[in-house]
Symmetry: C2
Subunit: 261 residues, 2 copies
DNA sequence: ATCAACAATTGATCTGAATCACTGTTTGTG
DNA sequence: CACAAACAGTGATTCAGATCAATTGTTGAT
């Protein structure tokens, strides 16, 4: 049953994903499908259900291990399922006909992708690290929601949180200059990261490429690079590694970022 | 009972609103409170309930008539209620400490404001025309949602739609230039307006000030003014009145806007 | 280990939109 | 009705960030 192609699945898209699997050994993926041992068990929508209710989710879901750089859903395609990320990171983006692309967010363990009111996906989601995602056919999920109102409430809460994040991003893109955007982004990462609470000089992990980061912040990679140098020269940040930055003065950064997000 | 200040209401904010009422005669407002005769009966969250179920909403809601330029909710304030717009238009905006403000959206009949996961409002909502809003205390609404799962489902759908709109706005602010932003905005207005479906040269109504429009599009009023002139000179639009514009060539406008919202 | 392909950095230059300054036009008010 | 205050339009100038161009890492495939 696991890894079988369900009748209403977009076989083409899934085939492409399966072909790309290189890193993740299949047995590991198989284990993921048992919700009770899932890394994201306590996060996202699954957190809404008691242990005993999980069997229903297990029954309708399928888990997949994906290599980096593979699409999970594509903007405009028929939305017959939603997905939960259980490990790794994805970028969510929209494109204009001429190729310009705007990253609307990053998704990691516990986050949901593909939930939309219409019948087609509003954005493309692509892995930017090796990742595991869990697929829930729409009709199966509807049944579950009808049976467990808690679940619907949880989805409403998650969607509201996402909406708030989107509005913060609108504020960032509409009002803030390059330095403020980067400051806001670093602080948001620090806030979301676990184990950095209370650390006066938190180190943030940047798994995405600079190119993706700039596409998220509405800047060009060159601008990002220059602004990072300025922040470094000003003694506000320190590059610990290529993908790791220590915030030397979060308060100053916060002031600069407009004390928001 | 109508217009009384409920115990958990922010009396200060409401007093301010009531003071400002000038246009709306009270009897008219009183009528609004009977949901069955509400202008927004078939829109927004109320559409989820059958006629017989409306009494529950009537019981917990209070309707108010507001003059233009008055706040309904304020960013950061304690969120103990949500509101539905039943007539008129509001602007929703967030501010930075230094005063820069970004309008995240406009709300009109059927739209909901103040729904958020946290315990404080994420944005300020202010009337930009005379308007009527309907107040639902949070706990009353929770009770209603528990009783009517349809209602919760409707809220989820509405929030998803709003999220999609927010992501479109992120694309607009992150990628598009001034002309494209205006084109997208005009087309979105034309699409939302009733009675313009199929009209090859729809006329759109712009109730908001140029200042608000520019704050929504992440531009300065001067830039907006110049771009409008260019669109006019290019024969794409025609100014029918100060607040009314006819789209002479929606297709060309659509191409220019990147064929997206 | 080598090399091709791609990502990141840095510099030089350009440009779209912001800013500044002023004028005309509404709007609301006593 | 007059008049202040706010809004809208236009021109001149500036500037933040984009674009163009070149170099230097990094990565991953063979």
């Amino acid at each position: 049953m696991l890894f079988s192609v369900a009748p209403n699945e977009d076989a083409g898209a899934w085939r492409a994903m399966t072909t790309g699997v290189a890193a993740g050994p299949l047995p590991a993926a198989r284990k993921e499908t048992f919700c009770s041992s899932c890394q994201a068990r306590a996060k996202g929508m699954c957190a809404a259900l008691a242990e005993a209710e999980l069997s229903g989710l297990s029954a309708i879901s399928r888990s997949r291990v994906l290599a980096s750089g593979l699409p999970v859903i594509r903007e405009g395609e028929h939305a017959d399922a939603v997905y939960t990320v259980t490990s790794g990171m994805l970028k969510l983006f929209k494109m204009l006909p001429d190729g310009r692309q705007q990253i609307t967010g990053f998704a990691s363990a516990g986050d949901m992708i593909g939930l939309s009111y219409g019948d087609s996906f509003a954005y493309t989601a692509e892995t930017i690290t090796a990742a595991t995602v869990c697929r829930f056919p729409r009709n199966g999920l509807s049944t579950m929601m009808a049976r467990h109102p808690h679940l619907q409430g949880r989805l409403l809460a998650m969607t509201s949180i996402e909406l708030t994040a989107a509005q913060d991003q609108i504020l960032l893109l509409g009002c803030k200059n390059a330095a403020e955007r980067i400051g806001s982004f670093l602080l948001a990462l620090a806030r979301r990261a676990e184990g950095t609470a209370g650390d006066p000089q938190p180190t943030v992990f940047l798994p995405m490429q600079k190119t993706d980061m700039s596409a998220y912040l509405g800047l060009r990679p060159e601008t990002l690079s220059r602004q990072f140098r300025k922040l470094e020269d000003a003694g506000l940040i320190e590059r610990v590694a290529a993908d790791r930055i220590r915030l030397l003065d979060p308060d100053a950064l916060s002031d600069m970022a407009g004390r928001v997000a």
